[in-house]
Symmetry: C2
Subunit: 519 residues, 2 copies
C-alpha cells in the first residue's frame, strides 16, 4: 500500500468518502489509488474554486466533511475564495494539496511556491506529510481537526513521493469527538435571568442554532419571554418553511440592521457573532450593537448549541408551544418579471424538501419572504462574502443529497466566477435547478457606490459596474457545458420553466431576464 | 484630492495607465476616481484570474507594468494562479488590493482575511497604505519596485478609508531605475574563455535574452564559437520568425531535455535557471545538468542581459554574422485534423507581427516547428506552470498592442480555468483569435500517469482525466460571451476559419476538434 492508497483508505474509514478534485501530475498516484479504494467517490471539477465550493456545500448538507484534491500552490490559490467562505461558515473540510516530491522542492521548479503561507490564511489545521508511513495518521488527525467543534478546514499537503512510496503502517481511522461540550448551567441561568428581566431582548441565532431542533427551542423561548428572534444575515444552513418557526434575518444593509436592533437592551447571541457592518461606510458605525445594549453569549460553535437552546427553553418556557409558519404559497404570478414576481414564482413552485442555495444578491431580496410558508426546505447562503460560491455549493449539496431537489439562485455577476460548476452538475447528473437572475449589472455595486459616498459615478466608473456590453447569453453558456437551459422573460414563463426543470431529474438552468440593473 | 485619486494620478504619472479590474464595495472610490483621471484605462474582468493574467500578458508586450484592482483577500486569492505565473516570469505588475477601512478591520466582518499572508507568497514588494497622505508615495515606490530589475509584483493594499479620505500631499511619480546594471567585464571574459575552450558548450537563453537584440548577439556567439544555443522551456516572450535566429527550446519532458544536454561540458546560462525537471519522477533525476558539466552564469535578470550578450559577441565573434531563419511556411494542409496538420494550418496563415500566446499544452507540440519560418512574431508561454494563463494573457497582450493580431493557442482543459477572458475581449473589441484545441481530455495527465509510474489507471482514475462527458461546446461558450466562433473538424476548415478570423478585427474563437485524447 502506497501513501496515496493509505490516505484514501484512511479518509474512507473515517467517513470521508467524497473527493472534489482538480488534479495534476503531482497527484497522479492519488488519482490512481481511487481504483484501489472504490468507496471513495471522485468528483471532477474543471476549476479548483468549484471543488472547494462543492466541498463546502456538501458538508453543510451531509453534516460531515468532503475531501478536496488540489494541485500545488496555484491550485490551492484557485480554491481560496471558497475556502474563505467555508472558513467563515465553520464548514468541516479535508483539503488535500499535492506537492512536488520532497527531494524535488529544493530545485525551485516552475510550480514551486509557498503552499504553507497560503494555507495558513484559512486552515484551522495544517500539516505536510513528509513520509509515506505518516500519511495515514496525519489524515486521521486532519479529519478529526475538520470536525472540530467548531468545524474547520484541515489542510494536508501530500508530496508526490510520499504518495507513491510504500507505507509500512497501513490506514488509520479518525477518532473525532462525538458531539460538542455542553454549555455550563451557570451560563444558561445567566441568560435566563436576562430573558426574565422584561427588558427588550433579541436572540440572534446563527450557525448550528438554525437547524429545526435549535429553531424550535428558540421559538419556545420567544413565546415564553417575549424576546424577539433574529437569524444572522448569512446562515450556512437554515431550516425553514411550513411547520418550522419563521425567522427574520438581520439585514445586510447596516441602516436596516440598525433599525431592526433599535431599542434592544439585551442581545443574546447563539453561535452568532455580535453584529457588525458588512463594509465600512463614511460616518456610519461599524459596530451595530445599539448604545446601551449588552451582548450576552449563550453559546459559540465550540459548544452543543441545540442542547443549550433546549436547556434554556426548559428554564424560561417549559410549557410553551413554538409559533410555526403556516403552509402558504404565493399565487402563480403573471406579467412582468420583477423582483416581486420572481420571488412569487420561486415560492409558488418550490418543491418539498428542496435545498436552496442563495447567491442571488440584490435580485433575490424578495425570495426569502415568498418562500417562508413553502414546504420545508433548507437555505444556504454566502457565509464569507466571496462571490462565486453558489453554483459550486449547489453542486456539492446535490452530491450530498441525491434524492432532494437543489435550487441554485444565482446572479449574473457572481455566476461568472465559477460557472464551470455546471459541467460537473451535468457529468454527475445532479438534480440542480439553477435560476439565473440576469440584470446585466453588478447591481449591488451601483447601490454601494452611492452608499460609500462616491456619488453616482461618471461614465468610466459606470462602465466598471455594467455587464451589458456584451450581454451574456446564459442559455448558450449552460448548453455549452451540457446543461439544458431555457430563458424566461415573463412571470408566466418563469413559472413554466421552473415546473419544467423540477419535473425532470438532472441539471437545468433558467435565465430569468430582469430589466437592466434591476435588483 | 482623495487617496484613490492620488493613487491613480500617481500611477498614470509613473507610466502605468491600464488597470485590469474586478472591483467590489471597498474599491468604489478607486472606481469613481477613474473619471477624475481619464488617462487611466480601466478594463473590467469578470474574474480576478483574468485581471492578473491580463496584466501579465500586457507587461510582457508593453514592457511596462499594468495595474490590477482586486477585492480584498478572496479577490486576491482568485488572482493568485496568474500572479504565480507572473512571479515566475519576472513580470512587472502593480497589484492594488482594496481592503476594509482601517478602523473596520478589528470587527472581523465576513470578508476579513489575511491579505498580507497571501501577498507575501508572490510579491517582491508589499505595503498597506495606512494614511491618505502616504498613498501617492507608496504607489510611486510600488511602480519602481515592479520595474526591478528583475521585474516583479508590487502589491499595494488600499483600505477603503485611505481611498476616500483627503490626501494633503497630491500625486507622486516613480523614480525607477532606467536600465539594468552591466555585467562586470571579468564575468564576460570568464565565459569567453569557456567558449574558446573548444569543449562542448551550450548557451541556455531565457528571460530578457530572448528579444531580437539578445538573440542576434547569441547567434553571432554560436557562429563564432560552435556553441549550441537553446532557449528555456517556457519563455515569457520570445521573438522569432523569418529574419531572426531560430532557437530550439529545452524540452518539457525531462528525458528529452537530458538528450538535448547529453555530452555538454559547459552550460552558460543567460537570464535562465539551471535546468531542472518540471516534476519529479520516480528514479529519475531532478537536476538535468549532465554529470561532468559545469554551469556558468553570464547574466541574471538583475543585469543588462542584452548588453552582456553583445559584449560577449564582440569578444568571441566580432566579425561573425548570425545565422537567421529563412522565410518558409508550410503548405496549407488538407485532410484530417492532427497535431501535424494543426501546426501546418497555423504556420501557413500566421499574420505578420502576430503575438502568439501558447497554452496549447500537449496539443501544440507541432506548432512551434511549423511557425519557425513564419513572418516575425512573438511567442509567449506559461512561465509558472499554472494553467489558465493563456486567454487572460492574450487579452492583456491585445490591450498592449492594439494594432497587432494576437493568436491565443489554447487547450480545452486549460481554457476552462479562465474562459471568462473572452467577455473582456468582446467588450474591448480586442483583436484576438483563440484557437481552441479540443481533445476532450487532460491529455498531458494521461501521459504523466504513466510517467510517474502509476500505470494506465483504472476506470476511476481515467474518469478524472477525461473531459468527454459531457463534451464541452466551445462555440456555444464563446457565443454566450459575445465572441464569434466557428468549429473546424478538418485541416481545410481550420485554414478557412483562421483566415476568416484574421480578416476581421475583433475577437474570434475557432474550436479545432481533434480525435479524443490526441495531444
Amino acid at each position: 500500500m502506497n501513501g496515496g492508497q493509505a490516505l484514501i483508505r484512511t479518509l474512507v474509514d473515517s467517513g470521508v468518502d467524497v473527493c472534489f478534485a482538480n488534479p495534476g501530475t503531482s497527484e497522479m498516484h492519488f488519482v490512481a489509488a481511487l481504483d484501489d479504494v472504490p468507496e471513495m467517490r471522485g468528483v471532477l471539477a474543471l476549476f479548483e474554486g468549484v471543488a472547494t465550493g462543492a466541498a463546502d456545500g456538501y458538508a453543510r448538507v451531509a453534516g460531515k466533511p468532503a475531501a478536496t484534491l488540489l494541485h500545488l500552490g496555484p491550485g490551492l490559490g484557485n480554491g481560496l475564495a471558497n475556502l474563505h467562505n467555508a472558513r467563515r461558515g465553520h464548514t468541516p473540510m479535508v483539503n488535500i494539496v499535492g506537492d512536488h516530491a520532497t527531494y524535488h522542492k529544493r530545485y525551485d521548479a516552475p510550480l514551486e511556491s509557498d503552499i504553507a503561507g497560503l494555507a495558513e490564511t484559512f486552515s484551522s489545521w495544517y500539516r505536510c506529510s513528509l513520509r509515506a508511513e505518516d500519511v495515514a495518521d496525519d489524515a486521521a488527525q486532519a479529519v478529526a481537526a475538520a470536525y472540530g467543534p467548531p468545524g474547520g478546514i484541515a489542510t494536508l499537503v501530500l508530496p508526490a513521493d510520499v504518495s507513491w512510496s510504500e507505507s509500512t503502517t497501513g490506514p488509520a481511522a479518525a477518532r473525532h469527538r462525538q458531539g460538542a461540550p455542553l454549555v455550563p448551567a451557570a451560563d444558561i441561568a445567566e441568560v435566563a435571568k436576562v430573558l426574565r428581566s422584561g427588558e427588550p431582548t433579541t436572540v440572534l441565532l446563527g450557525g448550528k442554532a438554525l437547524d429545526a431542533r435549535g429553531l424550535l427551542a428558540a421559538a419556545r423561548i420567544a413565546a415564553g419571554t417575549g424576546a424577539r428572534l433574529l437569524g444572522e444575515t448569512f446562515p450556512a444552513n437554515l431550516e425553514r418553511g411550513a411547520g418550522l418557526p419563521a425567522l427574520d434575518r438581520l439585514g445586510y444593509l447596516a441602516e436596516f440592521a440598525q433599525a431592526q436592533l433599535e431599542g434592544v437592551r439585551h442581545l443574546v447571541t447563539v453561535d452568532a457573532l455580535s453584529p457588525v457592518s458588512f463594509f465600512a461606510y463614511p460616518g456610519r458605525p461599524s459596530d451595530l450593537v445599539p448604545a446601551g445594549c449588552t451582548v450576552h453569549v449563550l453559546a459559540t460553535g465550540r459548544a452543543d448549541v441545540s442542547a443549550a437552546l433546549e436547556a434554556l427553553a426548559e428554564e424560561v418556557a417549559a410549557d410553551e408551544e413554538p409559533a410555526l409558519a403556516q403552509a402558504l404559497r404565493p399565487e402563480r404570478p403573471t406579467g412582468e418579471l420583477t423582483m416581486a414576481t420572481f420571488g412569487a414564482a420561486v415560492g409558488a413552485t418550490l418543491p418539498e424538501g428542496a435545498i436552496v442555495v442563495d447567491e442571488s444578491n440584490t435580485a433575490g431580496l424578495f425570495v426569502a419572504g415568498a418562500t417562508a410558508g413553502a414546504p420545508r426546505h433548507n437555505w444556504l447562503t454566502l457565509t464569507g462574502g466571496a462571490i462565486g460560491y453558489g453554483m459550486p455549493s449547489a453542486t456539492g449539496a446535490a452530491v450530498a443529497a441525491p434524492d432532494r431537489p437543489v435550487v441554485s439562485l444565482e446572479a449574473d455577476g457572481s455566476a461568472m466566477y465559477t460557472f464551470q460548476a455546471l459541467w460537473t452538475q451535468a457529468r454527475e447528473r445532479l438534480d440542480v435547478t439553477t435560476v439565473l437572475l440576469s440584470n446585466r449589472s453588478y447591481a449591488i455595486l451601483n447601490l454601494e457606490l452611492g452608499r460609500v459616498g462616491a456619488g453616482a459615478g461618471g461614465p468610466a466608473a459606470q462602465r466598471m459596474l455594467s455587464l451589458a456590453d456584451p450581454t451574456i447569453d446564459f442559455v448558450a453558456l449552460a448548453s455549452g457545458l451540457g446543461v439544458e437551459a431555457r430563458r424566461a422573460t415573463s412571470a408566466e414563463e418563469l413559472v413554466a420553466a421552473l415546473e419544467w426543470a423540477y419535473a425532470e431529474h438532472g441539471p437545468h438552468l433558467i435565465e430569468a431576464v430582469l430589466p437592466e440593473g434591476l435588483g
